[in-house]
Symmetry: C2
Subunit: 140 residues, 2 copies
């Protein structure tokens, strides 16, 4: 039910969220590029740095087709950042896992993601807590 026209305040907040999204993306792509990674490659590498996982699960997390992941992991693998391991429990499955160098790259990537510190630095701890709670409720 589309309710009726959203009120001006809601529209303003939506507009601001759009700006946050645009800025986040820009900074994410820049951070990735500074490590010669594309955004998609950076996302996959970051995911794997938390926990190795089957190709299929990567696709689920990124909400795309598994056949797409094949190519992205291929490129990461050809650069020595990721490797495919057999799953002892299921020979159909290939576990993608970061190499040592992949882990280091993921760490440096995390550090260069300044969207964290820079824009939030202007907010006090109390304000950040309020923001956290509001975002949490927004995300349901």
């Amino acid at each position: 039910m589309p309710s009726r026209r959203a009120d001006p305040l809601t529209l303003e907040v939506v507009e601001l969220i759009g700006s946050v999204v645009a800025r986040y993306h820009e900074e994410y792509e820049d951070a990735a590029a500074s490590h010669q990674l594309t955004g998609a490659q950076a996302r996959v590498l970051t995911l794997l740095s938390l926990e190795p996982m089957p190709m299929r699960r990567i696709a689920q997390q990124l909400k795309c087709e598994p056949s797409n992941i094949t190519g992205i992991v291929d490129r990461l693998e050809s650069r020595g950042l990721v490797e495919r391991r057999p799953d002892p429990a299921d020979r159909r499955v290939k576990l993608a896992a970061p190499t040592q160098e992949g882990l280091q790259t993921a760490d440096r990537l995390r550090e260069s993601l300044d969207f964290a510190r820079e824009p939030l630095a202007g907010l006090s701890a109390a304000e950040r807590a309020v923001l956290r709670d509001l975002l949490k409720r927004m995300l349901g």
Copy 2:
């Protein structure tokens, strides 16, 4: 200056912003797809629905190369959603403008962008105002 490790609260907020960004994107792509548009096409059409503008300016707004815009506008034009007009003041310039049908599509697109209403509905007006102010300050 990477300052030192960000505190847990900041990290939590950053994580939440990441979730908001992911969700916003997902919904945006879905809304675009429901009108047989790609995300990029939807962004350009939305931009033009506010105000016709030269190709060059579209590229600046989208932060990409002008040569990229040529293709996106080509596809929108071949579907009758956008047209190129000469700029009376400068014959090098082509103004991209939405057609009647393009305007209608842009309107319907806006309506289906429920990221506005749905998640924000859980917040009171006062809370939305607080959120607005915090986001504004975050964006500097």
